[in-house]
Every structure is written in structure tokens, then in C-alpha cells.
């Protein structure tokens, strides 16, 4: 029924593998970096907090595509020879981390003040309070937002094709340029993205309701 889509499906699925790998790298490292930065801002001094605020403000204010280009063109100037795929991955990690850091700050602030007072009353000091009381509760509050950020990141990996990294969207354009079957291919590719994203989307929605603590 869709001859072009059928014949190019293996090629597209190969692209999908690249999309999934890129997404996984970006989400995992972006989350680790973002949580680290968010926690640092919560325990650190004024200067550190201001630096983190600036980082979040800047990256949330510019398009991810611009960050990708910025990485792609500036890494060589710094003496780093990275291929487009790696350049995009690094740029996206820094970008996604800003969103995760913001969510982390929000989750830490969402732990009720009474929890801190109870911990202090037991004679806990700041570090222990962070480790034993605040972070375990904040991490739980963070799961749903991080899933939503991951969803955003997966969709944004398609922009890597604009910078020249080969993945699903790049593969789709190649096929369309060769065959002109724009409807079949792009609709098919939308379905492939949907299959990757939809489970995460459902999980995020289900967890948003389930994971809140009854204080």
C-alpha cells in the first residue's frame, strides 16, 4: 500500500536507532548534570546560586537549535574535533541540564518547611538534612518533570539533522529527496517518533498523580 515507506523502512529504523541512542545519552547525562547543578545551587553560597540562575536563564531563553549550532561551530574553535553527532549530543546535554536544574530547584523548594524543622529538631546538620530528608523527597517529586523534559529532548533530537547529524529525521529527508514521497515518509516517521514518545508521555501523566506525598 505504501511501497516507498515499505522499501525504505529498514533505513528509517536504522535512523530511529540513532535517534534512540542520541536521546538516551542526552537524557541520562543531561539529568545527571542538571540534578547536580540544581543540588549545588541549593547547598552552595550566593555566588554559586547566582551562577546557576544565570545558566538556567540563558539556556531556557534560547532555542535548542541555536545551542546546537553554537556547539557545532565553537567546539572546533576550542580545539575540539567532534563530529556533528557528538557536538549535538554535548550541546543538548548542556541545554537539557538547564531544564532539569530548574526542575530540581523547584522540587527541593517543594519539600515542606516542616520537614526541615523536624530534621533540625533531631539535631541534624545541613549536609545530612539534604541527604536524608530533602533529596529523597525531592527526587520523587522530580520523576514526572524529568520524564516531560526527556520527552521534549527526544523530539528535539530531530533538530540534529539540521546541523548535519545523521538520525531518523535526516534519514527521512534523504529518502524524500530521492523518492519525493513526502507524505508516506514523513507521516511514517511521525508514527515512529510517536511509538518512541507515547509510552513516556503516558508514564509521565500517570506518575504525576501517583508520586506526590501526602504530607
Amino acid at each position: 500500500m505504501f511501497p516507498v515507506l515499505q522499501s525504505s523502512l529498514p533505513y528509517l529504523l536504522q535512523g530511529a536507532v540513532y535517534t534512540i541512542v542520541l536521546s538516551a545519552i542526552v537524557v541520562v547525562f543531561g539529568t545527571i548534570l542538571g540534578v547536580g547543578v540544581g543540588v549545588l545551587a541549593a547547598v552552595g553560597g550566593k555566588a554559586l546560586r547566582a551562577a546557576v540562575t544565570a545558566y538556567i536563564f540563558v539556556f531556557r531563553g534560547i532555542p535548542v537549535l541555536v545551542v546546537m549550532f553554537l556547539g557545532f561551530y565553537s567546539f572546533p574553535a576550542m580545539g575540539l574535533r567532534l563530529d556533528a553527532y557528538t557536538a549535538v549530543a554535548v550541546s543538548m546535554i548542556v541545554y537539557v541540564a538547564a531544564f532539569v536544574a530548574e526542575a530540581t530547584r523547584g522540587a527541593i523548594a517543594a519539600v515542606p518547611a516542616g520537614q526541615l524543622e523536624a530534621a533540625k529538631s533531631l539535631g541534624m546538620r545541613k549536609g545530612m538534612m539534604m541527604r536524608e530528608i530533602i533529596l529523597p523527597q525531592a527526587m520523587r517529586l522530580l520523576i514526572a518533570p524529568v520524564l516531560n523534559i526527556s520527552l521534549m529532548a527526544i523530539k528535539q533530537t530531530s533538530y540534529a539533522s539540521i546541523v548535519g547529524a545523521w538520525e531518523l529525521s535526516f534519514a527521512a529527508r534523504e529518502v524524500v529527496e530521492r523518492t519525493l514521497a513526502a507524505f508516506q515518509i514523513f507521516l511514517g516517521v511521525m508514527i515512529i517518533y510517536f511509538v518512541i514518545c507515547y509510552p513516556l508521555s503516558l508514564a509521565a501523566r500517570a506518575l504525576e498523580k501517583r508520586l506526590a506525598f501526602d504530607h
Binding site: P112, G114, Q115, E117, A118, A119, K120, S121, L122, G123, M124, R125, K126, M128, E132, I133, P136, Q137, R140, F213, D214, H215
Partner: protein, 267 residues
Amino acid sequence: MNPAADLASRGEEIVAINGLRKSFGAIEVLKGIDISVKRGEVVVVLGPSGSGKSTMLRCVNFLETFEQGAITVNGRPVGYKTTGGVRKPVSELENARLREHVGMVFQSYNLFPHRTVLQNVMMGPVKVKGMNAAKARDLAMRLLGKVGMDHKADAYPGRLSGGQQQRVAIARALAMEPSVMLFDEVTSALDPELVGEVLKVMRELAEEGMTMIVVTHEMGFARSVADRVIFMDGGVVVEAGPPADIMANPKTDRFRGFLSRHLSEDG
């Protein structure tokens, strides 16, 4: 502690509050408070909302800063040290050490929702005091038994009623083996039918000789358990004395008015 030392220490001052003043912005909420609590004494603090009684209590373990005056617990300064006439904040470590000796129970329980009942009670001894887990577990189970909550040791706080959570919170504070227990309106958030179970635990603690400062609206508890009642209003101590005296014969209009309003609803 040997009996002789125990006898010698009776009457020893545990909490001393002298000339305590505190403001929130331009509003002065504590206008010079002096209170002394001796070992084994149960002091109940009454007063209308906004009288400063909760703020006073929170100053005792330095959950609130204060501008003037001094508080000591077991002779240790709370929050500030004055050396050579200069008042300086003490270190975070010293505050933490002090709080190990002051148990606090809150109106909103504040149990840790990500830990079981048993883990909530064990947390202080294990993490703060460095007690080994087996010993802390025995201690926690004994205290949970005492507040009638040992059957829920493995439950998470979210599954418990308000009264049950508050009893666990009492056990958690007791697990630090504090010199004094502070109770901050601990029954105010409870459904009326759950108030009794919490008051019963507090009554038993008082009978065992625990030193307690209790901020509450429970007149019956004040009358039958307190060694001394303190009535606060407008940031000052208005009346103080044994409940049999001052609750039967209030000297000021303010306390008389307060009592008549609250005794009528207390029955």
C-alpha cells in the same frame, strides 16, 4: 544515673529563658519573656492565638532567631553566646548538638513520608548520635510500644491517622533521649476523636517525670497535668502559677476572659 545523683539533680534548672525579645519585621511578638523550667516539671503555656506562645517555644530550640535576651538548656546557650559583652551567633554545629537534647513535637507531625514509622524513630539515634542499628531498633520498638504504635512499625506515615502520626512523632523525639520535650499545639490539627490518644501519651510521659513545655488549648490537660501554667498574651507573660491557684482564681481580666471563653467549649 545513680539515685543519689538523681536526687541531687532534682530541682536543677533545665530551661532558662531570660528577657527574650523577638520581632517579625516591625511587629514585636515577644516583649521580654522570663521562664525557668526545672527538671521533671511540666509547664503548660496558654494564650490566645498571636500571643507569641508558639514563637517562644520555637526559640527554645532555635527554630526562630531572637534579637534580645538569652536562653539556656542544661546550661548551654541557645543560638547566641555572649563573650566580653559581645553577642555572637553560635555555630551551626553547636545548634545541632543542642537540639539533640531538646525534643520537639509539631502541630503538623512532620514525619518523614519517605521512611517507615520504625525508620522515622531510628533516624535520630542512628544518623545523629551514631548508635548502632540493632540497639537503635530495640530503643525505637520500645518507644513505639510505649506510644502504642509498635504494630505499625513497618507502615509509611501516609497510611496513618493524624493521632497515630502524632504518637509516632512523640516517639521519634523521645528516641533522642532529650532533657526536655517541647509540644507545639500538637493536638490542634487533629480530629476531635483523636485528641484523647495523644493527650494520654503526654500524660504518661509527665507521670514518668519527663521535663515538658506544652503549648496547647487543652484546658483539661493544663488543669490536671501541669505543675505550672503560664498565660501569655500580647508577647508577655500575664500570669503564672500552679493550675489549681491561677485557673481557679485568675487575677487579670485578660486571663479571666480567656478562661471563660475556653472553659465553656472545653466542658
